[in-house]
Symmetry: D2
Subunit: 440 residues, 4 copies
């Protein structure tokens, strides 16, 4: 190798991420340098969360690199134990999948899916499949069938066999499962960036304990890896509870969605919206080309927010100004409130607001978020959740929930239910809520 | 204290940053919530550096909070040793200064100063002084004279006495000196975000060893703090060498400046520039209001870059596309080349490019960067550099360079000189450079 | 303060631990410098565990300093919120208790309690109470009643009121409860030293959320602290599972106990034991003075082990050599084995060994270890377990298990049951065990 | 690989250290399990330093594992770039050398060399060469010629060629040079254990930049590794200044040497020393077998210290009690004092002490410590110091001092000179010193 190799990225989570002078790594570097992957630099991994955790500015680009790196750790460990080294082609396929898994994300990720009406996965497939993209051309140069096969890999409607293609099944789970490279990276990265330590777990040890199942359909962890996986699932549980479902950042997310709803309403009504680009306006009608879609990033939306404050629409202005200058909606927590009381409160709150000339649709919004930290195998599940397997005390490979007592509680779905209201109405509505609880 | 207090920010560098229910802390929280401070969320601390270090997305907002926190650590340590607790008012003054020191920064920081022709400090003073800002109104509510005094504090032309106002001199140095809260925070933060560990030093120990000088004019470190300060200066040295002066990120910075230069040229020539907002165009002529200036952030410039790729100007397009999609100019290092050879190479390179119909102003650009890790006291220095003082072995307080041998080398100014050229020309010009060196 | 103050210890877990020029801190420093506290340098916190985790060499001295530091963090937080600053005397009382809580530990901690037949707490009280110790004299100089009151504080038979003396009840729980300074420090420290990260939790945030209960009987955490406490309890759970109950280190502990049993047997039989000091021999008969006891530390036992290898007793030799040179007994795990099978296996194994002329008491040893990560309040509990309290969603202070779903699983007692056998017998006995399981 | 492989050690510095099912790794595991290597568990890496840094209890065993791990990182990187994979045999040779480099250390390391009159390296060679050791037998089983070749490797009198044997020269430098696995590990480990961060540097990046020189005689770092090496050397500089040469720990070291000197004196005079084992007494006369030597560890010396306090010799008692209970000699710093003043002070101090009936040899002891952080190449150097090589800007491999300005200051030898005296005499002698300085 010449001294120009390896190419090394410095990453705050995994430290060094290297690429050697091999066909697989050359492809990965080319993909990283495409405009579609570079665009992920301009999309924050955690969207509006940085309004609450000031360090959470990290990008989907850094995350994508991290997933690629983590997938490589999984892959190297599994193939070392498999005894059969993986050829450059399937290796490249898997790692390209890891790198590209988020390439279709729109600005502020999930909120923007509301605008286009399509899941980001659809755009991921489009980026891979569409001949106009640099990603497509890179993949095709490497192997003419790669774009099609990779797009299929991201097609959730395809059955598992077709999705994985020639890839051994146990390897395809590296990028999609309840223990996969994506989740490992985002827990560690979001934890590092927010400065919480709730997302930390023992990645190195967990990787060390990975083994391919002899039948090749999945991987599992040796008995020594059990505690590490428990910690990983507990990390996930706590990141959801304390960061992803944080009441203030959910409030910001609610505001962004309301703003998109209001814009859609105005566009539908053919309101003139100076400062809102026609491309963006088209996005709301679902009539945009892939090229236009890929032009959008967090910066586009932020500039749009500024325009929104100048349009003279009170609702838009309140929401846009709130997101720009951090005047966030406040939460009223409904946890533990009987349903009948919620219904009564809901009615009374709407009445109160309407009497004051407020539109409850934009200033009294229900938000619920739920998570199941770990889904055990259920024969009747609609779609398989790619469970986690470990060796039990006797050397048999079993689904983790059958032996981990610590997990029992993490298999329940829990839900957070809140109303979000502008700060100015909070005290009044909180009093109304307390009154309703007391049976008033 | 009620359970709503303290208010706590979670920071990835300093962990918890708390605000109690005191007049000083209430002011600080109000300042943090102003639109002018919130705007710093949208300005990256390290500008284009994230093109090279994928983790370097952190904002000036997080940095500003960190400086406030660090200043408070300095302050608490110094006043504890001083024996005289500081009143709420001067405490608020100092910490507000720490928080607001970067509030005038434009998008991409230093590059944008080229556009407006004004230092960011001028805007910092304007934000504090101008009655239209939320910052101004907060400060005035706290103390009618605060805006004026604080603006003066940031006026580098004012003499030191007038700048510090009523503040004890040793405290005013907490926010301005060769060992100050600003530098401490950015070294640690940039190091954390980039994932290098070059910027780490022993902040806790250094703070612990701070003492106010009996004459009240400055602070110093006990003898036990010497090694910690040496490490701090060495950290600074290495962050400059390996991160701030990194050849690829300097290349991106050069490109951004070239792009601004090209835009200025086109605006001067009254070229029509669809997609470039009039506000932004006015910035180039220096004719903008503070309000307009504060509307600009990194997002504005990024959207502008996208517009630039559509204007049909080849130079603009190359630069904007390069910055968006990471096609960076490449460096040719001139270090160690005799001046005569540089002159000859410069001429030959320009000729070569002109023959090919290229404009050397935009594709052959000299860049030099220099730093003096530590400036010792010099009686003839134009302006004082706020040296660092430590106890010597006998208990006397002396300027650090008189006793630290390790620093000797860090007091020299060093310079990095490079040419930057588009990637396509690199090989040809590198050959020409080698040829020139050999006397060709 | 002069520059000689504060006195600062550098700690790998908490970084700086400082002592100021106050009566309380002067007492603490004097206590640290007593021979009884210095002796803790020579007693490893984790005993034989370093045979399994090579980094686990840290001492009870470092832990004791850490507990003092952590107790101070609790104390400062609670009194800040209490509004009533604590006087120097009760402060000194509490922090001395934190520092001295382990001062009576014998070599290799728990194993040695078997030798003397007394709990280490009895020795802790003796060190405080006995006029011959430096600790006693320090305490008495500070306050004549301190030794007696402090000894009472460590008397578990005394009722809570008498134990705490004049100390507000909520403060006394800082050094004794399910959330106390001792546990916080050992989880963090053992985690740091072993290099696992299972013991990490968010100490700073947890402390920040502590509040004194208005009735002064206990402290609790605000609702925002819930996740931090859950992580703390989960950290505890995992440290027990993966480190404290590690099969190899439990094996070493078993061996040390067997060795002590064998020595007792030989001493009882008046066997001549050259190289075993008379002081040590007396310890086995429970006839030793406090001075002699305090002469013992890990080094004494290690030197004794060397002597044991030279005594010509095969059992002693195998155990001592095994502990010195890391030939550890191996575990046979009984988890999940029906009791009847265990009984049958136990019998068959003893027979087999006896036929081979082995003494099963020394080469076939049952070991069980159990833990309850968190004990909720039970009105019928023999003694109170000092539960953890948090605010619920309505601002009421409740016992944590009533609102934390994640804890449900951590309130169960779990047990690990294993047999330990010399390595040479492992395979044979494992086969016998498998055979018994299959009903053989 | 079966699930029993790899064998993994958990290390607080390097995290996981794994051994696979290969001939080389099997040898290494066998060596780790020898009694001679296990003995290193009972020898602290930093000797008496734990009296000053309470966390510094880590053992030479953990360090030896760490050196092995670091050597493997060097080795894998260099052979990957060399293109020629290394055979199992030379690989085993090199890694065994890394593991065993400290195997001959006596208790408290350097101080004990005074007792035996032999360097620890001589014992390292003996452990490898002597047929009675388990280490020897392991090595011989692997390859009959290994013991002899390895012993030669540690023979500093042998010329470089003979020492390295069949090993490529650039690999042999991994375990011996100014940039080697030993130094890398101890800087990181001592830093981690003491809790200072002065010893931290960027190991991963430095390793990544290592290359074998084409002529095979040494390795070097690419230009990108320059900053990492500078940080490494600066880390070394600061660890010496602040930790290894710490005035209190040097004081404890001085006391231990004085105690050994006093014991030697008493033994020479045939004084009866009950409690001091004959083996230990023989060590002072240099008449001990390897077996006896290997019986000594830190625990032996600590128990001996206790005996020393009971012998009725005032000098022994003061020193032993001081080391056990941390009453350390105090330092008087001579830095910057003219030689003539030192001479005069030395005389006056001795006179003063003698008048008081004190023996100056044991209560007024000069101690000087010096270090050269980096020794550049000097044609006239007695023995080569294995300099560090890096690529310069032109791709040439040069000795680092020729291009690193930051190092200029680190190439100077600096010396710390102090007198150590019992605490009781400090003030009086400090006054005398001050008086002498003033010309008194």
């Amino acid at each position: 190798m010449s001294n120009n190799w390896p190419k090394v990225f410095r990453d705050p989570v995994h430290n060094l991420i290297s690429f050697a002078d091999t066909p697989c790594d050359r492809l990965l570097l080319e993909l990283i340098n495409t405009r579609e992957v570079q665009r992920l630099r301009r999309i924050k991994q955690m969207g509006v969360t940085e309004l609450v955790f000031p360090g959470a500015n990290h990008s989907r680009f850094a995350h994508s690199l991290g997933v690629l790196h983590t997938a490589r750790l999984f892959l190297d460990q599994l193939t070392r134990h498999d005894g059969k080294p993986l050829a450059q082609e399937p290796r490249a396929f898997l790692l390209a999948a890891a790198l590209l898994h988020d390439v279709g994300h729109g600005p502020f990720s999930h909120a923007f899916e509301m605008v286009t009406g399509r899941h980001h996965e659809a755009y991921t497939r489009a980026v891979i499949h569409d001949e106009s993209t640099e990603v497509h051309r890179c993949l095709r140069r490497f192997d003419a069938s790669m774009p099609e096969r990779l797009a299929l890999f991201f097609d959730e409607d395809a059955d598992e066999g077709r999705r994985a293609g020639d890839l051994p099944a146990y390897l395809s789970r590296i990028v999609s499962g309840q223990l996969d490279a994506d989740r490992c990276d985002y827990l560690l990265r979001d934890s590092h960036a927010t400065g919480t330590n709730y997302g930390d777990f023992d990645l190195a040890w967990m990787i060390e304990q990975l083994r391919p199942d002899p039948d090749g359909r999945r991987f599992y962890l040796t008995r020594k890896g059990l505690a590490a996986v428990e910690t990983y699932l507990f990390a996930r549980y706590h990141m959801y509870r304390t960061v992803y479902f944080h009441k203030a950042s959910r409030g910001a997310e609610v505001m962004l969605k309301l703003l998109f709803r209001r814009l859609a309403e105005l566009i539908d009504a053919h309101t003139s919206l100076p400062g809102i680009s026609s491309g963006l306006a088209d996005a709301f009608s679902g009539q945009i080309s892939l090229t236009t879609y890929l032009d959008f990033d967090d910066h586009t939306i932020t500039e749009m927010l500024k325009s929104c404050t100048r349009l003279g629409d009170e609702v838009l202005n309140r929401l846009a100004d709130g997101l720009l200058n951090r005047h966030l909606y406040k939460a009223l927590d409904m946890t533990g409130m009987p349903l009948s009381a919620i219904v009564r409160f809901d009615e009374r709150a709407r009445e109160t607001l309407e009497k004051q000339g407020r539109d409850p649709r934009y200033c009294f919004v229900e938000d619920s978020a739920s998570d199941t930290p770990y889904e055990p195998y259920r024969p009747d599940a609609e779609r398989p959740a790619m469970q986690i397997y470990v060796e039990d005390g006797e050397g048999r490979v079993v689904e983790i929930s059958t032996i981990s007592e610590a997990l029992a509680q993490l298999m329940k779905t829990y839900t957070m239910m809140r109303y979000y209201v502008p700060g100015a109405f909070r005290d009044e509505l909180a009093r109304l809520m307390a009154d309703t609880k007391r049976g008033g």
